[in-house]
Amino acid sequence: MSFDTDPGRYRHLRLEFDGDVARIVLAVDEGAGIVPGYDLKLNSYDLGVDIELHDAVQRLRFEHPEVRVVVLTGSLDRVFCAGANIRMLAQSSHPWKVNFCKFTNETRNAIEDATACSGQTYLAAVNGTAAGGGYELALACERIILVDDGSTAVSLPEVPLLGVLPGTGGLTRLTDKRGVRKDLADVFATRSEGVRGRTAVAWRLVDEAVPRSRFEQTVRKRAKEAAARSARPDGARPVELPPLRPDGYAYSTVTAVPEEHQVTITVRGPEAGDDGWLLRMTRELDDLILRLRTNEPELGTWVIRTEGDIDAVLAAEPGTDAWPHGEIRHYLKRTLKRLDVTSRSLIALIEPGSCFAGPLLELALACDRQYMQDDPDRPAEIELSHANFGDYPMGNGLSRLAARFHAEPGRVAALEKEQGRRLGPAEALELGLVTFAPDDLDWDDEVRLALEERAALSPDALTGMEASLRFAGPETMETKIFARLAAWQNWIFTRPNASGPEGALRSYGTGRRPVYDRERA
C-alpha cells in the first residue's frame, strides 16, 4: 500500500482554485475502492479516498502559498459525504480498521492544524446530508455552513445503526470544539436521522443554515472574510512536493530494514550543501511511518537510529518561521505526532556517528526508551537546541521535554541552558535525556536482550501501556480523540455486540437485525 499520490492521479477528489480560495470537492468514484469488495456509494470513503485527502491538505500548504481559505464540499446532489464505507469496515480486520481510523484522524487534525498554524482556514460547505464520518469531516473545519432545504441533515448514526462510535473524533469535537450541550449531543448521537436546519444551528451542530438559493453566495462571503483574516505571506513561492520514489523502504535520507518482529529505521543527516534536506527527510519519514503502520503490522518494535553530522543537522533548521520554514516546522511537528501515536514499541539507539540533535533529538525523545552507547574511544553525542523547547509540541500541547519532566519543570529550565554544546553519555544520563548508557562492551548484549524481551510481551498490553505513558500532563482535544479511539472504540469494535456474527457491524447491510448481549460491562 502506497501513500504517495498527486492531484494528477486523484480519482476521488477535485481541486479547484479561485485566487486565494481553493475548493476540495469530494467526488468519490464508486467503483474505485482501494481493495475489492465494496462500492463507495454516496461519497463514502475508504483508505484510498483518505490518502488523496491527506495529499491535498499537505500540498495546499506547500504548493499553494496563495491559498488562504479551503472550502470542503461535495459533488453530489443531495449527499455531502456518507462517512467511512460500512461494507469496507465490515470486511476489514481489526488492525486494518484501527490503522485506517488513526490515519483519517491524523488528516482531520492536519485540517485543523492548517487552519490554526498556516493561515489556511477550512470551511465546510455542507451541500447535502453529512452522515457519520461525513459530518466529522465538517467538524474538523473552522466553520460549518449547512444547506437548509427541509431535507438535508447532519448526523452521527454510528451508535444507533452500527453499534460502534464515531471514529474520527465526532463525539469529542461536539462537546469540546463546538460546545454542544451533553444532553443534546446525547440525543443527536442516538438519532439516526440526524438534525436539520435551524435546530442544527440552535444545538451548535453547525454555524449557519442557509437556503440553497443563497448557499454559494454565503460560502463565498465566508471565504472572503476568512481570507481577510489570514496571516499567510504575500508573494511567497510555491514549494513543490515531487514524488518520493523510494526503493522498497530505502529513501534518500531514511531507510528501514525489517527483521523478525522489528524494523530498524535509520535517518541520515544532511550532506554539505543539501538545502532541501529537512523537508525531504520529513516527507520520507512521514511516508515510511504510514507504510510501516499499514503494511507491517507484525513488526512490533521500531528501532530508531541516526547517522550524520550534528552541526549539519542543527544548521538545516534555521529557527525562523519565514516562508517556507514555518510550514516545514509544522510538517515535522505532525510527523513527530504520528510517531507519538504509533502503536509500536519505539526504541532509540544513540550510537557513535549518530546525529540526534535539535529536531532529530525529538525522534529519540518520542521513543519509549533511549539507549546511548558509552564508548570512550568513539564518543556518541547529542545536542539540545531551541527545537526541543516548544517548536514541535506533542498532541497534549507540551514539548517532549516538558512532558518527560512533567513533575519537574525546573529541569526543563535547566536544560535550556545546556543548548549549544555536545552532551556525552554520562551527562545525558545525568540530565535524564536517555534511559540507559551501556558501555561498548555491554552494548550489544544489553540492546539485544532489551529487544528480545520486548518482543516476547503481549502486543496488546504493550500498545496500551505505551499509549498510557507517552502523554504525561494535560488532556487536549487531540489527546482525548486518540485516547478514546484507542480505548473505547477499539474495545467496542472487538466486542461481539459489534463484530460478533450477530453484532451490529457484521449484520449491517444484510437485512438481519443485530442481537445484543444486554449485559453492561
Binding site: 432545504d149 427541509g150 431535507s151 436521522e193 437556503p211 440553497r212 438559493s213 437485512g511 438481519r512 437485525r513
Partner: protein
C-alpha cells in the same frame, strides 16, 4: 376555537376524544389550508363535483356532491381493524401486529412515512396549473378529485406522524408543508416529484406510471407490522385505484383519438389535424416509465432489507407468496451491466427487494400498453406501442451511468445522446403537445386531441356540469 373537528374532519379514529391529536391538528390544519391556497389548483372555481370519504364502508365512501375546493372535508380513515392480525414476515413473523410504534423502529418508521407523505402534496404542486388547460369539465373534475385525494393522503400520513411520533412527528408534519415541488430552496425529497407536470398528456402518463409506483409502495406498507400504518395504506389504495383509472382511461382516449385521426386522414402524422402522433405518445411512455422505475430505488438496498426483517415494509402481496417470509437464505437474480453487456447477478433476496417490487410493477405496466394496442388494433392499425427496456434512461440503480436503448442494447454515450431525441420527448414534441393545451370549459364539449370518455362520473352524463367556474 369552537371548531367542530369531527364535522370538519370526517374520521374513524375517534378524533373528538383524542385531545393530543386534536391539539396537533388544530395547529396543522390552518397551515394545510394556507398551503392549499398557495400551492393547490391555480384555476379559481366555485365548486366541483367531488367524492368525499365520510366513512370506510362502501356507502360512506361513495359520497358525491358539489363542493367548493377549500371546503373539501379531508378526512382521516383507516381500514377496519382485524383484531387477530399477525406480522406476516421478518423476524417478528407470527407475533401480534403493533398498535404503537416500537421505540426500536421509531426512526425507520418515521422515515418511511415522511417519504411517502412527501410525495402526496408534491403531485398537487406539480399539477397546479393544469386546470388552466383542461380538455373538458369532466377531465377538470377528475384532476381536482386526484388533487383532493392526494391532499387526503397527506392528511393520512400527517395523522400517523401526529398520533404516534410525538414532537419529532409534529416537526416532520410541518416540514411536509414547507418543502415544495420544484423549489430551489426546499425541494421535495424525491427527484421525480420536483418536475412540473406541464400538459395533460404528461398528467395521464403521470397518473398511469408514477401514481402506480405509489400504489406499489403503499402495497408494501399495507403489509407493515405497524397496524395503523397498514390500515391507513389499505384505505389509501382504494383511492389510488381511481388515480390509476384516470391515467389508464386518459391514455386510452388519447390513443383512441389519434387512431381515429390516422384512419380518417390515412396519415401517421396527425399533428396537422390537431392530434398527438403515436411516436410522440411512445416518447412520453418512455420518459414517464423510466423516471417512475427510478422511484423504486437501487436494485440492491440494505435499508429495504432492514425494513423487511424488522417487519416495517413487506413485499407486494406478501401473504400470497409461498415462501418462508424470512428470506434469510433466499437468493434473487437482478439485472446489471458487466463489461458493457447486460448480465445478471445473484444476490441475497433480502437486499434485492427493490428489484422484486419493480418486477411486480413492470408486469402491471404491461397491461396498460396491451390495452392501448388493442385500441389501435380495433381501428385496424398495428399494435406499435411498447414499454422500453428497464435499463433505458435510468438515473438510479444498476443501470445509472450506462446508456441503454429502448430495445435493450448497451450503447456508447455519444451514440445514445445522438438518438435520445427519437426516444424521449424532444423540444418540438413538447411544443406541439403544449400548443394543443387550450381549455374547454363548456359542458359536453372536449378538446380535439382526446376522445370523450365512454361514461361520466357516478352515473352522470358526460355533459354534466361537473365544475362550476
Amino acid at each position: 376555537m369552537g371548531i367542530d373537528y369531527t364535522e370538519r374532519i370526517p374520521n374513524n379514529v375517534d378524533l373528538a376524544e383524542d385531545r393530543r391529536l386534536k391539539r396537533a391538528l388544530e395547529s396543522w390544519q390552518p397551515r394545510f389550508l394556507q398551503w392549499w391556497a398557495e400551492m393547490g389548483p391555480a384555476l379559481p372555481t366555485q365548486d366541483v363535483y367531488l367524492r368525499t370519504a365520510v366513512a370506510v364502508g362502501r356507502e360512506g365512501w361513495a359520497h358525491f356532491d358539489h363542493v367548493p375546493l377549500p371546503e373539501y372535508r379531508w378526512g382521516i380513515f383507516l381500514a377496519e381493524r382485524d383484531t387477530d392480525r399477525r406480522v406476516a414476515f421478518g423476524q417478528h413473523k407470527g407475533q401480534p401486529v403493533w398498535q404503537q410504534v416500537p421505540g426500536e423502529y421509531r426512526a425507520d418508521l418515521q422515515r418511511l412515512i415522511v417519504i411517502q407523505g412527501d410525495t402526496e402534496p408534491a403531485s398537487v404542486e406539480q399539477q397546479r396549473r393544469l386546470g388552466l388547460s383542461a380538455p373538458s369539465l369532466y377531465d377538470l373534475r377528475n384532476l381536482f378529485q386526484v388533487n383532493v385525494e392526494e391532499g387526503r393522503h397527506l392528511w393520512a400520513m400527517v395523522y400517523l406522524l401526529h398520533a404516534y411520533f410525538g414532537r419529532s412527528g409534529r416537526d416532520e408534519a410541518e416540514a411536509l408543508l414547507l418543502r415544495n415541488s420544484g423549489s430551489e430552496d426546499s425541494p421535495r425529497i424525491l427527484g421525480a416529484f420536483n418536475e412540473e407536470t406541464p400538459d395533460w398528456l404528461s398528467f395521464f402518463m403521470f397518473t398511469y406510471f408514477t401514481d402506480r409506483d405509489g400504489k406499489y409502495q403503499l402495497g408494501t406498507l399495507k403489509e407493515s407490522a405497524f397496524d395503523p400504518l397498514s390500515r391507513t395504506c389499505e384505505f389509501m389504495l382504494k383511492e389510488e385505484a381511481h388515480h390509476m383509472f384516470v391515467g389508464t382511461t386518459g391514455v386510452d382516449r388519447v390513443v383512441e383519438r389519434t387512431a381515429q385521426l390516422m384512419r380518417e386522414h390515412d396519415d401517421e402524422d396527425v399533428r396537422k389535424y390537431g392530434g398527438i402522433p403515436l411516436n410522440v405518445i411512445q416518447k412520453y411512455i418512455n420518459f414517464h416509465y423510466s423516471v417512475s422505475l427510478d422511484l423504486f430505488g437501487g436494485e440492491t438496498s440494505t435499508n429495504v432489507a432492514n425494513y423487511y426483517t424488522a417487519g416495517l415494509k413487506g413485499r407486494w402481496q406478501e401473504e400470497r407468496r409461498k415462501d418462508d417470509h424470512l428470506l434469510t437464505e433466499a437468493v434473487a437474480v437482478v439485472p446489471r451491466i458487466e463489461d458493457g453487456r447486460l448480465a445478471e447477478a445473484r444476490l441475497p433476496a433480502l437486499t434485492a427487494l427493490n428489484a422484486d417490487l419493480r418486477g411486480e410493477y413492470v408486469a402491471d405496466c404491461v397491461t396498460g400498453v396491451n390495452r392501448w394496442n388493442r385500441i389501435l388494433v380495433s381501428h385496424g392499425l398495428d399494435p406499435v406501442l411498447y414499454l422500453p427496456h428497464v435499463g433505458f434512461n435510468r438515473k438510479v440503480g444498476a443501470f445509472a451511468g450506462h446508456h441503454v436503448s429502448p430495445d435493450g442494447r448497451v450503447l456508447a454515450e455519444l451514440d445514445w445522446e445522438a438518438a435520445a431525441g427519437r426516444w424521449l420527448p424532444a423540444a418540438e414534441d413538447k411544443t406541439h403537445v403544449l400548443s394543443l393545451m387550450r381549455p374547454v370549459y363548456e359542458p359536453g364539449k372536449i378538446a380535439a386531441w382526446v376522445a370523450p370518455p365512454r361514461s361520466g362520473i357516478n352515473g352522470r352524463p358526460f355533459d354534466y356540469e361537473y365544475v362550476h367556474l
